[in-house]
C-alpha cells in the first residue's frame, strides 16, 4: 500500500465519520464540525491524488481545487454559525426543533 492510497483511504474514512456525526448528533455545532470534517476528508483525498503522478512531480490542479474548496467551506461554516446563533436566540437551544406536522 502506497502512502497516497493510505491518505486517500483515511480521507474517505473521515468523510464517513463526518456523515455519521452529522446524522447522529443533535447539537448544531456538532453538525457543523461534522461537515467540516467531511470537507477535510475530501481535501485529503485531493492531496493524495496530487501526489499520484507518474513522474513524481505533484499535480497542481488538485491543490487549486483544495484552496477553492477551503474558501467555500469557510463561507458555508460562517453562514451555518450565524444561522445557529440566530436560531439559538429565537428558540433557546442550538438544536433543530422537531418538524411539526402542521
Amino acid at each position: 500500500m502506497t502512502p497516497a492510497i493510505l491518505y486517500a483511504i483515511t480521507g474517505i474514512g473521515l468523510f464517513v465519520l463526518g456523515v455519521h456525526a452529522l446524522t447522529r448528533r443533535a447539537h448544531l455545532l456538532n453538525k457543523i464540525i461534522a461537515l467540516n470534517i467531511m470537507g477535510s476528508g475530501i481535501f485529503l483525498v485531493f492531496g493524495a491524488l496530487a501526489y499520484r503522478t507518474p513522474n513524481g512531480v505533484s499535480d497542481p490542479v488538485p491543490h487549486a481545487m483544495v484552496i477553492t474548496g477551503i474558501v467555500v467551506a469557510i463561507s458555508a461554516t460562517a453562514v451555518a454559525l450565524t444561522l445557529m446563533l440566530r436560531l439559538q436566540s429565537k428558540t433557546g437551544a442550538a438544536e433543530l426543533p422537531e418538524q411539526s406536522p402542521e
Partner: protein
C-alpha cells in the same frame, strides 16, 4: 451590417449574464438605501443579456468561451447549448417577474428587506454560472453558491420556522454538495480531467467510476429533493418570504436537476446507468404519490404548494428509465418543457399565496374562505396556474406530459403511463381543495388589507404565461435542440 449590429454580435453576453448580477449584488449590498432600484436595474441588464445570448444561440448554435483566453485544464471554460439556453431563459423569465413583484412586496425599509436584493442577485448569478459551467469542479462551486444564497434568502423571514427551515436546508444542502465533491475527486483521480466533454470519453464501467457516479447522483438527488430525500424542502419553501418561495420552487431545485441531467447525458457511463435510471424513475413515481397525498393533507396553503413541488419534481425523474431507449430525445424534451411550465405555474401559485398572506395575515386553509371574496383576481391566478399543474390542455404542463407519455409508449415502458396520467388526477385533487375555498358563500367576509395591484398582476402574468407556453412549446423545443444536447444517447442506446 451596421456598427451597432456588429457590437451586438461581438459582445460576450455569456460573461454579462454572470458579471451583471454579481456587480449588481455587490453595489446593492454596499448601498442599501437604493438596493431596490439597483436591484431592478441589475435585473434588467441580466435579463437583457440573457435574451441577447439566447438569440445568439438560436441563430448561430452552441458557443464555447474561454475565460481570459485560458483553455482547460488550467482555465475555466463556459459552454452554452440549447439546454443551457433554455434554463437561462426560464431563470430570466421567472427572475424578471419576481423582481417586479419584490419591489412591491418588500416596500418597508427594514434591514432584512434590503438584504433581499444582494442575495437574490447573487443567487441569479450563481444559477447562470451553473448553467454555463463546463467542468465538474466549477459546477461544484456554483452549486455551493446557489445553496448558500438560497439558504440566506429563506432565513430572511426571520421567524422561528424560517430559521429552522433554513438551518435544515443548509445542512442537507452541504451534505449533498460534499457528496458530489467526493465523486468529483474520484473522477479526477481516475482520469486526470474535470472537463465534462473529456470525462465523458474516458469514463468506463470500472468500480471507481461506478462509485464516483453513485456519489455524484446521490448528492444531486439530495439537493433536488427526490423522495425520500425531500423532507427538508416543504418547511424551507413554505417558511420563506413569498418571492423567495417562488424562486426556490421554480428555479433552485431545477438547478441541481439540470446538473444531474447534464452529467447523465454527457459523463456517466451508459452501461452503468440503465439500472440506476430505473431506480430513479421508481423514486420519481413514489415522489408523485407521496407528495400529492401530503399536499392533500396540508392545512396551510404554502405548505400545500410546497408539497405539490415535491410531487411535481417526481415527473422530472420519469425520463431517466427512458434515457437509454430510442425515445430518449422525446422524453428529455418533455422533461425540460416540464421544468419551464412548472417554474411559471409554481411561481404564480407562491406569489398568489403571498398575496393571500399579505391580505389576510395568515394562510390557514380553514379560515381562508372568509377572506376569499376580497381577492377575485388572486383566485383566478390560482385557477389558471392549477390548469398547468394538473396538466390540462392547452397549458405547457399538458404538452410536457404528452411528450413523456409518447416516449413511454414508444419505448414500451408502459408502467410509466400510470404515474404520468394518475399524477394529474392527484394534482387535481389537492388543487380543487384550494379552489373550492373561493366558491364558499360567506356573509361575514372581511375585506382584509389592500395589496398593491402590482403583486396581483405579476402573479396573474405568470399563470397566463404557463398557459401560453403550451402554444410556444414548438419554439422552445427548437431552441432546446441547438447543439443537440440529447443526441449523445439516443441512437441505439446501450441497454
Amino acid at each position: 451590417m451596421t456598427t451597432a449590429e456588429t457590437a451586438l454580435m461581438d459582445t460576450p453576453w455569456i460573461i454579462w449574464v454572470v458579471f451583471g448580477p454579481v456587480t449588481g449584488a455587490i453595489i446593492a449590498f454596499l448601498w442599501p438605501k437604493r438596493a431596490s432600484l439597483l436591484g431592478c436595474f441589475a435585473a434588467l441588464v441580466t435579463a437583457g443579456s440573457v435574451l441577447l445570448l439566447v438569440w445568439h444561440i438560436a441563430e448561430f448554435g452552441p458557443q464555447r468561451y474561454l475565460i481570459g483566453g485560458w483553455d482547460a485544464p488550467l482555465g475555466i471554460n463556459l459552454y452554452i447549448d440549447g439546454l443551457s439556453a433554455t434554463m437561462l431563459l426560464t431563470t430570466a423569465l421567472v427572475g424578471a417577474g419576481v423582481t417586479v413583484y419584490a419591489t412591491a412586496y418588500f416596500e418597508q425599509t427594514t434591514e432584512t428587506d434590503r438584504f433581499f436584493w444582494p442575495l437574490w442577485l447573487l443567487l441569479w448569478a450563481a444559477m447562470n454560472a451553473l448553467f454555463l459551467s463546463a467542468d465538474v469542479f466549477n459546477l461544484y462551486v456554483t452549486l455551493e453558491l446557489v445553496g448558500l444564497a438560497a439558504v440566506a434568502l429563506v432565513a430572511l423571514a426571520g421567524s422561528r420556522d424560517a430559521l429552522a427551515g433554513a438551518m435544515r436546508y443548509l445542512l442537507v444542502s452541504l451534505l449533498g454538495s460534499l457528496t458530489y465533491l467526493l465523486g468529483v475527486a474520484l473522477f479526477y483521480g481516475d482520469h486526470g480531467t474535470l472537463d465534462i466533454g473529456l470525462l465523458g470519453e474516458l469514463v468506463t464501467p470500472a468500480p471507481a467510476d461506478w462509485m464516483a457516479t453513485g456519489l455524484m447522483v446521490a448528492g444531486l438527488l439530495i439537493k433536488t429533493a427526490l423522495f425520500p430525500l425531500h423532507f427538508w424542502l416543504p418547511p424551507a419553501h413554505a417558511a420563506a418570504p413569498a418571492p423567495v418561495s417562488a424562486l426556490l420552487s421554480a428555479l433552485v431545485v431545477k438547478a441541481s436537476f439540470y446538473l444531474l441531467l447534464r452529467l447523465w447525458l454527457e459523463v456517466f457511463f451508459p452501461g452503468t446507468t440503465p439500472n440506476l435510471g430505473q431506480l430513479i424513475g421508481a423514486l420519481g413515481v413514489l415522489a408523485i404519490l407521496w407528495g400529492s397525498l401530503q399536499a392533500f393533507c396540508q392545512t396551510r396553503l404554502k405548505l400545500l404548494i410546497a408539497y405539490s413541488t415535491v410531487a411535481q419534481l417526481g415527473y422530472l425523474f420519469l425520463a431517466f428509465p427512458l434515457a437509454s431507449t430510442p425515445a430518449a430525445t422525446t422524453a428529455w424534451n418533455g422533461t425540460v418543457l416540464f421544468i419551464l411550465s412548472h417554474a411559471l405555474a409554481k411561481t404564480a401559485m407562491f406569489l398568489a399565496a403571498g398575496n393571500v398572506l399579505r391580505a389576510i395575515g395568515h394562510d390557514r386553509m380553514v379560515d381562508l374562505a372568509r377572506g376569499a371574496t376580497g381577492l377575485p383576481l388572486n383566485w383566478a391566478t390560482f385557477g389558471i396556474a392549477a390548469i398547468s399543474i394538473i396538466g390540462l390542455p392547452p397549458s405547457a404542463g399538458f404538452t410536457a406530459k404528452w411528450l413523456l407519455l409518447q416516449a413511454s409508449f414508444a419505448s414500451g415502458q408502459w408502467w410509466l403511463v400510470i404515474p404520468v396520467a394518475g399524477g394529474g388526477l392527484l394534482a387535481a385533487g389537492y388543487m380543487f381543495k384550494v379552489l373550492s375555498l373561493a366558491f364558499v358563500q360567506n356573509q361575514s367576509s372581511t375585506a382584509g388589507t389592500r395589496i398593491p395591484k402590482r403583486m396581483e398582476w405579476t402573479a396573474l402574468g405568470f399563470a397566463l404565461g404557463a398557459l401560453a407556453m403550451g402554444f410556444l412549446a414548438p419554439s422552445v423545443l427548437d431552441l432546446l435542440d441547438r447543439g443537440a444536447p440529447f443526441q449523445t444517447f439516443s441512437p441505439g442506446g446501450v441497454l
